[in-house]
Amino acid sequence: MTLHTLTLRQAGELLTAGEITSVELTEAVLDRIRAVDPTVKAYVTVCEEAALAEARAADRRLQTGEGLTPLTGIPYGVKDCLSTTGVRTTCSSRILEDYVPRYDATVISRLRAAGAVLVGKQNMDEFGMGSSCENSAFYPTRNPWDPARVPGGSSGGSAAAVAAEMGLFSLGEDTGGSIRMPAGFCGVTGLKPTYGRVSRYGLIALVSSFDSIGPMTHDVWDTALVTAAIAGHDPCDSTSLEAPVPDYLAGMAQERLDGVRLGVPREYFADGMEPGVRQAVEAALAHLAALGAEIREVSLPHADHAISIYYLILTAEASSNLARFDGVRFGLSEPPEGVDIIERYLQTRGKGFGAEVKRRIMLGTFALSAGYYDAYYLRAQRARTLLRQDFERAFADVDALIAPTSPTTAFPLGERIGDPLQMYLSDIYVVAANPGGACSLAVPCGYAEGLPVGMQIMGPALGEATILRIGAAYQATTDWHTARPEQLPSG
């Protein structure tokens, strides 16, 4: 049986037709995890029993035919920053190693209500800080295309799980490229929806202003189905948008792109891009043009500043968001007894956080300090406005922007871990969408030396239907997204 290789849509058809059961499908996925995850290490926690119980419930639902959704009975995994009742939620950090939430994130309760089957929690860079998954406090995740290479990050576990067929889809989280960049490295499809399109309630915050939860799947149609299930206003998240969720799939049957205007940001194609990446993306642009799209060069004049803007706001907000991990109410608390509160803070946070997290907390604390706030945080916010205006101006002329998801393909483990700045630059093309207010879809667009190359299709705020439609035309006429890594050793 190769049920674990199915796309969500394929599996859904078989489930509703009664040809397979959710238990069979879930067991296939669990078997696959047992077989390849010792190599890939995409999961931090696998909740086998709970998954099978959910699968049995889904099967009952499938039998009666009542309340069926496209996700009923579909096994999936989520990045370990999403709160799940009764299943530990670690953010791949020692400080939360044994933390078991008492409530579900809104996206999790929506997926539960839809009948999807949660198989486990996926590895990530600790608290989302990193671009390679090497900052996990537990272990690095490997790229299923080449286990000597990183899967990208921070949603590396989620991307690798889909690529290695250990779940029919994943939920990732993208603060500055954390869905798109690993999607590109692992050859999967991923969507960073518009900020506020998907509720953040229950997502352990990295940067409250940027965090966006989105699907990672085998193709755009699966992405559309999952997005439809999780999007929409949530009264528990005051920053979630009220706008109704459109029927994404309705626009996704078109194979032509006549009349669609696509912009190519001049700044992104200047230099620093690997030749293999450039070739793949340029070929994709030619393909899109052949489908009828009009390709124009556009400018994002402040794109150079995106990394600075992003990291200033990130470190500032993260330093505050991570303050609650103090050893008082949950998570790691060191030592067991006998010290005053200051000592407890120092030991708990000293032992609980990894080096990158500490670095960013210190940077952020500094950036918010009296006397520096104006020079750093406030200035970054002003520059962010300029960046957002760049995007708005660009979207006045084009329907979407095309760019690579990273200047390189997946790099070897250990290559950049000692050089934070080099690591930050891996995100140079994806980071701007978050402060810039865009939504963005990552799709595989080719291979360079056997490694996937990713392309992102960026749209304006609430432009998901547009970019999904473009992605659908592209995937309907190419087969990059159907390739799967072959040589995973199974244990």
Binding site: T89, P101, A105, C236, T239, A323, R324, D326, E337, L368
Partner: protein, 492 residues
């Protein structure tokens, strides 16, 4: 008073933290409970315990109550108001930051007028009023089994309760003004029904910023902040102490150091909590989990029109409408329920409202004080009180009997007519009957009559007393007085 080489002027500004009386907390659906009685950590949820991923949602009712206070303090209600994070570590602050307001508070630039017990009324500026969430409550145990050196328990029931911080300008020039200001704020909050004013439950907390300067100086001296004052007594005592301490420092040739002080109630002294160099850097920044609130001017007007009559307006009206003496008005207006009680009684009473007021601020207040009950618990209804006053006005009972009747009403809640009937207190105003009693009294006391006729005319009161005694207080005094005078003069 100490003798000082210079005449000093005191400058005081105040910050008042008032819990708002909403059903649920500031940013979650948990009930606001009386933290002095509720079982610890029973009114909590992921949001107010600061669990990872939980997000705040603004309580509209708290915003409305904050607007009410802002309007009552003559503030501008800002059309654009937003929340900010105030970052610091403390175990009772679950998120490691407090959601507060910083550069866009809901209300700014107001004022109130206060009347100290002695001295001139003063106008005190209100710089701002802003919304925030309360912290949890720590219970420190200095000894105990856990780790030997003591331990701390935390009750999160209070965590996230809506707070309004009202910041005054440094406009107070005496402790009496500070006291009057604090009292007035409490009175207004209680009028609005947004705070119970129960100081002992901690729903209202004061902080005083105090400095001194040579009288006539325009520049402000270095201030100290006295924090966590939980009673009016603590406010007054700590401010008096701190002023004398600062004067002593200056007189000794020293300079006042800017610092945060605590108040040791038992020892009656302020003590340093932290100096300027250890001042917190709260690293304020806009709360990214809450979009700014844009307040519709129509909403402000709606709230404005829904405001109850406030103490100053009521004060003026009671004088204008009822002609009450100023001291009565002050007492009645200090509490909305008492003022309402008065008005209900005055409405039920056909005659002079001044008489009603006199009974309330006199005998009724005495009984309330004696038994430690407040107006809400008094069994005498306003209508019964009006009925009692009418019985006196009509001469049915005497003033003296009326006090006894009120005592009985206060104890039992029964109607005055029933008590009067039962006790047989109906006043004798029948001239014929009283004339008879007067004749008897005069006949029984020939010596006193003789003395009166020889010029000891103040014996008239004594005869009066005898008539009262004979009638067990029921005689109508004016009639008796007239009859006695007439009869005695007839004997000359």
């Amino acid at each position: 008073m100490n003798q000082h080489t210079m005449d000093y002027e005191v400058v005081i500004g105040m910050e008042i933290h008032a819990e708002l009386r909403t059903a649920s907390k500031m940013f979650c659906g948990c009930a606001v409970v009386d933290t002095t009685v509720a079982e610890p950590n029973t009114a909590v949820c992921p949001v107010c315990v600061g669990l990872p991923g939980a997000m705040p949602v603004v309580n509209q009712r708290a915003v409305e109550q904050a607007m009410m206070v802002g309007l009552a303090l003559n503030c501008d209600i800002n059309a654009f108001t937003s929340f900010a994070r105030k970052n610091y570590f403390y175990p009772d602050l679950p998120k490691g930051y407090q959601i507060s307001q910083y550069d866009h508070p809901i209300a700014t630039a107001g004022w109130i007028e206060v009347q100290p017990d002695e001295g001139q009324p003063a106008r005190i500026g209100i710089r701002r009023a802003h919304m925030e969430e309360d912290t949890a409550k720590s219970f420190h145990h200095t000894t105990g089994t856990r780790g030997g050196g003591g331990y701390t328990l935390i009750d999160f029931n209070r965590s996230g309760v809506p707070l309004l911080e009202i910041v005054s300008e440094p406009d107070m020039r005496s402790v009496a003004e500070a006291y009057a200001y604090a009292t007035k704020i409490r009175e207004i909050l209680r009028y609005l029904g947004v705070n119970t004013g129960d100081m002992e439950k901690g729903v209202l907390r004061f902080e005083a910023n105090i400095s001194i300067r040579p009288r006539g100086s325009e520049t402000l001296g270095t201030r100290t902040e006295v924090k966590n004052l939980n009673s009016f007594r603590a406010l007054v005592r700590s401010a008096e102490y701190e002023i004398q301490r600062q004067i002593a420092v200056v007189e000794a040739g020293g300079t006042v150091v800017q610092e945060t002080l605590g108040w040791d109630e038992a020892r009656g002294v302020t003590y340093s909590q932290r100096g300027k160099e250890h001042a917190h850097d709260y690293r304020y920044f806009p709360e990214p989990d809450l979009p700014p609130l844009v307040i519709d001017p129509d909403w402000v007007e709606e709230v404005r029109t829904s405001l109850p009559e406030l103490p100053d307006a009521k004060h003026a009206r009671f004088i204008r409408e009822y002609g009450l003496p100023i001291n009565d008005v002050r007492i009645l207006v200090a509490e909305r329920a008492l003022a309402d009680y008065f008005e209900a009684a005055a409405r039920a009473h056909a005659g002079d409202a001044v008489a009603i007021s006199k009974w309330i601020v006199g005998e009724l207040a005495f009984l309330m004080n004696r038994d430690g009950v407040d107006i809400g618990e008094v069994k005498v209804t306003p209508v019964s009180l009006a009925a009692l006053v009418s019985l006196v006005d009509k001469g049915t009972i005497s003033q003296t009997s009326a006090k006894d009747v009120l005592g009985a009403m206060f104890a039992t809640g029964r109607a005055p007519e029933d008590i009067v009937k039962e006790k047989g207190l109906v006043q004798i105003s029948d001239e014929e009957a009283l004339s008879q009693v007067a004749d008897e009294v005069l006949a029984q006391h020939p010596d006193q009559v003789a003395a009166y006729l020889e010029g000891k005319e103040n014996l008239l009161q004594w005869f009066m007393g005898q008539v009262m005694r004979a009638t067990r207080g029921r005689a109508q005094p004016q009639t008796v007085l007239g009859l006695l005078r007439e009869k005695l003069e007839a004997r000359r």
